[in-house]
């Protein structure tokens, strides 16, 4: 079988994306065609993602069978698929498929429906590509392409000033971040004369001391990519963008886009090697800050999507702590925990946003109200929407780290890794993280309580029903959260190669 098969995982969604747009524009703008066009667009998007899944399975088979990274080159452009690429691809494809399924009734009839699916397919292809970049500039191109498609998706409701404002904030901050990344790339190019990650590693390990320019480049990478990953002082776009985007897109942004930014940052930082312990310390510091600040801000939110957005900040914190522990201790356990939490965060936060989206659709959108969903609106929702309420509760309790669910398992793995090195600072940090996890229940639990109240609120009373295609993704994701929580070793086929690839990247 052809070893470059994995590139089709990138090319297929990207190539079909304009076709989806064209399919949505077919024929005249008569009303009777609208439904047919809508089904055509959704069907094409789902078919493409299914085909991409098939390609994923075939290339994964090849990857595990040959036990080495898959490579592809076109002239001097190289793509390489390693464990981290496959982890990211699985997350993006998984959530992407559910979001396309979910968005059917949610987006149906909105202006620009065809653009929504076209951009969604494009962003899936782009993020798989981002995981496979082997060249710093190539990495930046994927990163920028991902950013541009996500600006458009955040500002999807262009009649609403609030979502335009969120899109604009996101764009300006993200564009400034990518300028800083490019400046870092220029510094690397000036100091080493190459942008190929492997050659940069060789050039740096051959030199006796690290030039100041490369340290500066590392700092620029941390700040530049940090805007996208929402490191705490650079996070201000995140709650706006995540709460104003359509719910499916909130799930994508929170579940995979910030994680893809993190992968890009780690790839860029790892090439600068040499002082990976210092990068580890930096990740730990940002991790602690993100966790604490995210939790404190989430506590005071009354809008549920904004609360979930702040909780993303704290979950990025746990992932950073796992990665930092791996770098400081040099053990794969922390990295595996982080990779596992990365995956779990995708399904848990994806589920939470989709469940909130389903409730928002039934309670507000169907009644022609366009405003954010408040926690108080959900009073007694479990009586009328048992499935969506159960799914949301499972997602929230898993995010809070309650024992039999997925979120607990990955957090536990990170905490155990922190205690392995018997470094008192790391142990202190792990205890701080565990306390934070308890603190986070203080804002997850009231929502669950609100859902299962006896008296049904006025908003729930007047709500419409939730369509079946919206419930299917909720059921599958909720089952995944529970099953992975009970049998965490189910996911080690994916997380072990990712953790190994991560440590290889940093030369451990």
């Amino acid at each position: 079988m052809n070893p470059t098969l994995f590139t089709w995982m990138i090319a297929l969604p990207l190539g079909v994306s304009p076709l989806v747009y064209l399919a949505g524009r077919l024929g005249s703008h008569k009303m009777e065609l609208t439904n047919i066009r809508s089904w055509l667009v959704r069907g094409l998007a789902l078919l493409t993602l299914s085909a991409t899944w098939l390609l994923f399975i075939l290339s994964w088979d090849k990857f595990i069978g040959s036990n080495e990274n898959l490579q592809f080159n076109l002239e001097s452009i190289w793509l390489r698929a390693d464990g981290v690429s496959f982890l990211l691809a699985a997350m993006v494809l998984g959530l992407g498929t559910f979001v396309v399924l979910f968005s059917g009734p949610y987006i149906a009839g909105e202006v620009g429906e065809e653009k929504y699916y076209a951009m969604l397919l494009a962003i899936v292809g782009i993020m798989i590509g981002l995981g496979c970049a082997r060249d710093l500039f190539n990495l930046w191109m994927w990163f920028e392409a991902m950013a541009v498609s996500s600006y458009l998706l955040v500002a999807f409701y262009r009649e609403h000033p609030a979502s335009l404002e969120a899109g604009m904030k996101y764009l300006v901050q993200s564009a400034t971040g990518s300028v800083l990344v490019l400046l870092g790339i220029a510094l690397v190019l000036g100091n080493t004369g190459t942008l190929d990650m492997d050659k940069i590693r060789l050039a740096i390990s051959a030199a006796s001391s690290t030039p100041l320019g490369l340290v500066l480049a590392g700092a620029l990478f941390v700040i530049g990519f940090g805007v996208k990953v929402a490191f705490v002082p650079l996070h201000t776009w995140l709650p706006d963008a995540h709460s104003q985007a359509p719910s499916g897109i909130s799930a994508m942004l929170s579940g995979v886009v910030i994680e893809a930014g993190l992968v890009a940052m780690l790839r860029a930082l790892s090439t600068l090697g040499g002082f990976s312990v210092s990068w580890g310390m930096l990740l730990l510091a940002f991790g602690a800050l993100n966790m604490f600040y995210g939790n404190l801000m989430a506590l005071r939110q009354t809008q549920i999507k904004r609360m979930l957005a702040y909780s993303s900040l704290s979950h990025i914190g746990y992932i950073l702590i796992g990665l930092g522990i791996a770098l400081v201790n040099g053990s794969p356990a922390g990295a595996q925990g982080a990779a596992f939490h990365l995956f779990n965060h995708t399904i848990m936060k994806g589920l939470a946003f989709l469940a909130v989206g389903a409730l928002m659709f039934a309670l507000l959108d169907q009644n022609g109200i366009h405003r954010p969903l408040e926690v108080n609106d959900l009073s007694g929702a479990a009586r009328k929407y048992p499935l969506a309420a159960l799914a949301l509760s499972i997602a929230l309790l898993a995010l809070g780290g309650l024992p039999p669910l997925a979120g607990f398992m990955s957090k536990w793995q990170i905490f155990v890794a922190g205690f392995q090195g018997s470094n008192p600072w790391l142990m202190g940090l792990v205890i701080f993280a565990a306390l934070n996890s308890v603190l986070s229940l203080a804002y997850y639990a009231p929502v669950v309580n609100m859902l299962y109240r006896r008296n049904v609120g006025a908003v729930v009373e007047g709500g419409a029903s939730i369509p079946l295609t919206m419930n299917i993704p909720l059921v599958i994701l909720a089952l995944a959260v529970v099953v992975i929580g009970l049998l965490p070793s189910l996911m080690s086929w994916l997380t072990e190669p990712a953790a190994q690839a991560f440590l290889v990247m940093f030369g451990k």
Binding site: Y151, P161, M168, L189, G190, M297
Partner: protein, 103 residues
């Protein structure tokens, strides 16, 4: 620091970056913010060519610079399109007056 051409270009990069970041801090108009972002990107384009020249790999630096110009034009187009929509819906381009999302 002697006055060789590379140092002059480096001075240009730093100057453009300074103007860009200062502009980002003080600008209140959306269109002007897009312009300021363009200034920042132009500084980076210059820096990339300079880095290519300094490391003896001018071709690579130049090709990257050209690609950045293309990629950044797309960002500018999206930004301006959003600005047009903001002007239509909110009636103003002043970011202090359209800002409603906080906390």
């Amino acid at each position: 620091m002697t006055l060789n051409p590379l140092n002059i270009i480096l001075f240009g990069v730093v100057l453009l970056l300074a103007v860009g970041f200062y502009g980002l801090l003080i600008t209140r108009n959306l269109i002007k913010i897009v312009l300021v972002l363009q200034i920042l990107v132009k500084a980076v384009v210059l820096a990339l060519v300079l880095a290519g020249k300094a490391s003896g790999n001018l071709g690579l630096g130049q090709s990257i610079a050209a690609t950045v110009i293309v990629a950044d034009t797309i960002v500018a187009v999206v930004a301006l399109a959003l600005a047009v929509q903001v002007r239509r819906r909110a009636g103003t381009l002043d970011i202090a007056r359209i800002s409603t999302l906080q906390g």
